[in-house]
Amino acid sequence: QDVNLMDGVEPRPEGNSIVEAGAFQTEAPWTIAMSHFGVNANTWTVQTAHEAKGIADGDARIENFIMLDANFDQAKQVADIEDLIAQDPDVLIVMPVTPTSADAGIQMAIDAGIPVVVHTGRTENQNFTVDIQGGAENFGRVMGDFLVEQLGGEGKIWVLRGLPSHPEDINRYNGLMQALEGTNIDITQEDYGNWVYDLGKSLCETFYLNDPQVDAIWSSGADMTRACVDVLTEFGADIPPITGEGNNGFFGQWLELGYPSIVAEYSPSQAAAGVRAAVALLEGEALHKHYIYEPEGWNAEKAAEYYRDDLSANVWWPTELPEETLQELYGN
């Protein structure tokens, strides 16, 4: 009877509570407001915006879907949420920039009687109505476990991290640490590649030239993975086990070259799930307060099922975008 927000999203088993049915039931038409942490950081963030908008546009009861882009600026997110509340929405969806950038806004909305859905990023203020959290530790651990298994618990690895000071990066890294605990795996080189291709590439070049000895590579995101594989290919080196994410370009490379890898799932459809949770609240359905999203890793077979060579490198899997939209946005 539970509302299905998205495949792989489940109520948190412990420390959870229930949002009473009907607590926020509202007559349509609705105004749904959303503060996005940054639409234009990379193609993954763009896709989240499309996923959210896709669901909202497909629901005739949502008259007004206002999405603001904080552009990774904490101060702007504070302002954005104020401006959203000023427009008196029926529900507020927040993708926080940092653990604290949305706290005051959440409180302000709750005080004004507006329910708040938080996803894709944690907040310190726990007074929101519902949250959906991708398990960053899980993400990092899925990757870490794979490497531990591949190496038989011993060896040298490189670590390509995301954005410095970014909570997602720190939590994924913590997941890796949990996986490495008790093994004899050494991190020989580690640095931040900001989850983007070009920095990831410079980093791998520097790592390789410094010390080409490496048994496996933990990469915190797919664009960096592809960059690193490109570097190793250019140097003519063997590709050791390396971790990746659900990106179409990376799938293509992986399936072609066939190196050992695993995909940690982190779907942009979490943004769709956020809208779904908002709609459920307005419909008056009962929800849990906390949802988690901790899927298992993907192997090459599963990647092959998803891979589409007729779409560009920048589709992120899994997605809920309809075929039509996929073709329009990513058709080659």
């Binding site: 070009d198 030239l209 560009s312």
Partner: protein, 312 residues
């Protein structure tokens, strides 16, 4: 001897930092000290280096160009989004350079003819282009770069990667152009005193305009090299690149309206940025330490230079 010492003291800070970083690597990571390895490291900063050629030029005529970020992003997006269809590479390159020049012309018109603040004008251009690209990207996110570009990027002449050669050749061309051609004197004169230049018959407005067009051109070249180095298009390049370009230029001894460092000062300014990255990464300096070390190194070099060139 005295004059030798005096001219030695005017060596731009970039050379000191470069020497110090090189020595550090030599002592601690001798395995990195070969042409093949260094070539790769230097290749990483080739786009910045090419951008600096333009930045240095506009700074010499007392202007500044922050629009490089926009040009890079736009060209990178156009190539990767497939909006250009199956255009041949030469056409893509010509189009990119044309875009760079057009943006430069627009900047130059605003700065030289309309006399608006160069910082604001070029910043606004970047903001507009970035917004425009992001708008386009909402309908058509960028995809793959043509593989041919990637292959060209990886080419080498002997141990030296092609982008490094392009950068060096452009730098040499600029060095000759500025020191042996009339336009170079115009640049010097305008930087020294625009009013007096005007009365001396220097076409001040045109000089500044051309400087901006050239800066746009170099941004176009930088954009091509930068695009060739990646496999996917980007949506966000940020203003770090133009700001780094300003910093490298000043580190190279060129400041607004004055240029002790010639063309090679800023060249080595960029090399410093390359080595700084290598040194930090190979020592595994943690992020805060990296920031602090980067700041301290630049500051100390500038202080050393500043003390030497201080008026008596």
């Amino acid at each position: 001897m005295a004059s030798f010492l005096k001219s030695a003291s005017r060596i731009p800070p970039a050379y000191f930092v470069f020497a110090a970083l090189l020595a550090t690597l030599w002592l601690t990571k001798p395995q990195l000290m070969n042409l093949n390895v260094m070539g790769i490291f230097i290749r990483q900063v080739a786009p910045l280096g090419i951008l600096v050629l333009g930045q240095m030029l506009v700074m010499r005529v007392r202007s500044i160009d922050l629009s490089g970020a926009g040009v890079l992003l736009l060209i990178n997006y156009l190539i990767a989004s497939g909006l250009l269809g199956d255009m041949p590479l030469t056409l893509i390159i010509i189009l990119s350079l044309a875009i760079g020049c057009a943006v430069g012309l627009f900047n130059g018109y605003l700065v030289a003819m309309r006399r608006v603040s160069a910082v604001i004008a070029t910043l606004a251009v970047t903001v507009i282009i970035t917004g425009f690209v992001q708008f386009l990207a909402s309908g058509k996110p960028p995809g793959n770069m043509p593989e041919l570009m990637n292959d060209i990027y990886k080419m080498k002449l002997g141990p030296i990667p092609l982008p490094v050669i392009v950068w060096t050749v452009l730098t040499m061309t600029m060095a000759v152009f500025l020191s042996r051609f009339v336009y170079g004197r115009f640049v010097m004169a305008v930087g020294e005193n625009p009013t007096a230049s005007h009365f001396s018959g220097v076409p001040v407005e045109r000089t500044v305009l051309v400087a901006h067009v050239l800066a746009g051109f170099f941004a176009g070249v930088a954009a091509i090299v930068q695009s060739a180095s990646v496999a996917v298009g980007s949506l966000r390049l940020g203003l770090e690149m133009p700001i780094d370009a300003v910093a490298a230029t000043i580190l190279g001894g060129v400041v607004f309206g004055r240029g002790d460092g010639g063309v090679w000062g800023p060249f080595f300014g960029v090399m410093c940025f390359a080595l700084l990255f290598v040194v930090m990464t190979s020592f595994g300096v943690p992020e805060p330490g990296k920031q602090i070390a980067r700041g301290l190194i630049i500051l100390l070099a500038a202080v050393f230079y500043g003390l030497n060139t201080r008026k008596s």
